[in-house]
Amino acid sequence: MATVGKTQGQEPSTNGQYKVIGTRPIRHDGVDKVTGRARYGGDTRLAGMLPGAMLRSPHAHAKLISVDTSKAEALPGVRAVVTSADLPDATDKIANLGEGSVNLKHLSDNVLAHDRVLYRGHAIAAVAADDIHIAEEAVGLIEVEYELLPPVMNVLDAMKADAPLLHDDIKTNDLGETADQLSNIATHIRFEKGDIEAGFAAADVIVEREFHTATVHQGYIEPHNATALWNADGHITIWMSTQGTFTARQQTAELLDVPVSRVKVVPMEIGGGFGGKISVYLPPVAAILSKKTGRPVQLLMSRTDVFEATGPTSGSTIRVKMGADSKGRITAAEAWMAYEAGAYPGSPVGAGAMCVFACYDVPNGKVDGFDVVVNKPRTNAYRAPGATNAAFATETVVDEICEKLKLDPAEFRINNAAKEGVRRIDGPVFPRVGMIETVEAIRDSEHYQTPLEGKHRGRGFATGFWFNVGLKSTAQATVNSDGTVALIEGSTDIGGSRAGIAMQLAETLGIAAEDVVPTVVDTDSIGYTDVTGGSRVTFATGWAAYLAAKDIQGQLIERAAKIWDCDVAKIDYKDGAVVGPDGKRFTFKEIAAEAQTVGEPVIGRGSADPQEPGGAFGTHLVDVEVDIDTGKVTVLRYTAAQDAGTAIHPAYVEGQIQGGVVQGIGWGLNEEYYYDDKGTMRNSTYLDYRMPTSYDLPMIDTIIVEVPNPGHPYGVRGVGEVPIVPPPAALANAIYNAIGTRMLELPMSPPKLLHEILKQQ
């Protein structure tokens, strides 16, 4: 049964079935965060630590003829210089990283360029020196001879038959069948369902449009960093900002060709990631500098380094064609999707292709997707990777169909909604999902029911989907004699997950959230845990914490059986207490104290690899006002409804929704990598790469819908990603509603919108 929280700040109903879940305790790491005592990667200070600096390519595409480091090495104060020659030879091996995989040759080449630079900012060499000024001066002394090559900066240009090629080993792969010719198109994928021609023949209305989206960055506050110590015993320790310590460990070990057990990754607090802190850039380089110098070495990126040299998400071109009958039923849908992968294959076009029509019950469909390399930084994940681009296209076309058929956008979506039993175009059938409930929540909201008035004002509606993932997690919980529990886990905490995981342990044990002390620990201190990504941590690591609590329950029952001298079968764990025969009872605090004196320590362990993450849907409504003289769009009001399954900590669910919406608004209205014709990004600072701030936006209202996930003991669905999916489409639809201008390109920034307005006039 679905439940809906009415407005932000009100509790979503969990039907009173939980004591801890659904409450809003203060996060365990809150004091350290607000007092500035939390330690981030850049705060790492080790005895004898050396700073390092990187040489990066000023060119978007060039052959490396020679790299001469002799003058840099001769500079007084320089301790070591590394180039790709210092990296072990990487093979074409594909490493499975749990969530996704990576070609190690490409990864190695991205960390330090071997024979060709493929984007401006591509790392070529690094220096460790007595201070950062010497290191930077030495970088300037490295002499590089380039043979310039023409850059390819756009997906459509890169797909042309005569386009300059980035690689001499990429041929289009079509599910294991490789083309004969070299190409910038690394992969083609296709999905089909039903009879696409018959579907369009049955349509009374067909809308077909082409969309373009710009390259955008995750925009995390904290730049990448790594501090490495390659100890004399061969063990390597990395202190860094990462979304996944074990993934960082594996990548570092693979690139350095050492066993994973030789590498320990220590997670520092993380200032945002959103998918951009999964791939490694600095750790292998810092480690080699440390090996050469015998001292710890720290590398820090600048903001410009982050923009130019770390993975943004794909720019794309998408064509969507959709048909519907006069009753408003979708009869067919077709998409052609080309995503920029950046310098190496690996765009999120697969996920985009699987999401593009996922919100709808499409009887006949076809999707083609292309992964295309261009001379931009190697793309990385960004919240619901690939889905935002796709939703911009689909939801804009749906809006146009609704207009042509004079149908209410909410009712159209409800009538065509994905729901339990609907087969997606990529094949699988949906389990119980909450698409309809999120649309209904918006339809019934005060926002939707309140007419929007005023000149050049408009309202936009859009929905979005993201799969969420499960993957592996570990948790370990130690019962203290004072009735508290020390919880350690391996999921780096980006969005308050420590609190959400601790709450699930507390709920299971029947104790207060404040009585659980959660700590995120390094790779030597906890079992394997996959990345903090894919909206998986509250789901999967929460599940591991639940199992750890059940383990503790079992041990406490055994302990009570020993104390009471009775059969364990006669003892139960209920409401935070061990309950035995004849009215015998220990509260958790009592049995924790007893356990300290009788028998071995009580340590619960949980390891999980859950398979049913439950997909998540979100529906958004936005009101805008357009300044037709400047093209500036002002967001007047925004409401987002999302199915969270069960909201463990509603404040953090709201925070995730609000954060995702704000990033989606930035993506929709302003953000883009602006390149000149030489492939140089011209806006690689936050002054020029315009992200929205609190001054730009109203409060983002949230409605938490709860359609419990049957695949989780508490019904959790991931919440972190889907809120970024609908905003650009919702904004585009609102702009059209305001001034009749249909925007087909992101960002819908003032100059682009003004251009379209003037064309209309």
Partner: protein, 87 residues
């Protein structure tokens, strides 16, 4: 019997059949059976005895972390999908 849904790129090998019923209790057995019926399909889906990198197998709607070892029920559906990552 379980049903394997054949991706469009592999349908040349299956005579344009998009769904194949197979006698199998695991994904490994299912792919072996497909290979037996349609030679060449196994190499498109697997490498070194595992599902190919970049590819995922979904059983009954959920991407499986068990890969070739994933158990199948008599009414199971198998789908071969792009492996995806989240942010």
């Amino acid at each position: 019997m379980p049903t394997a849904f054949i991706p469009p790129a592999l349908r040349k090998l299956t005579g344009d059949n998009d769904r194949i019923t197979i006698e199998a209790h695991t994904v490994r057995e299912a792919i072996a059976e497909l290979e037996h019926k349609y030679p060449g399909i196994g190499a498109r889906l697997t490498a070194d005895g595992a599902i190919k990198p970049g590819l995922a197998v979904a059983v009954d709607g959920n991407v499986s972390s068990q890969g070739m070892l994933q158990k199948l029920q008599p009414d199971s559906e198998l789908h071969f999908l792009p492996a995806i990552g989240g942010g």
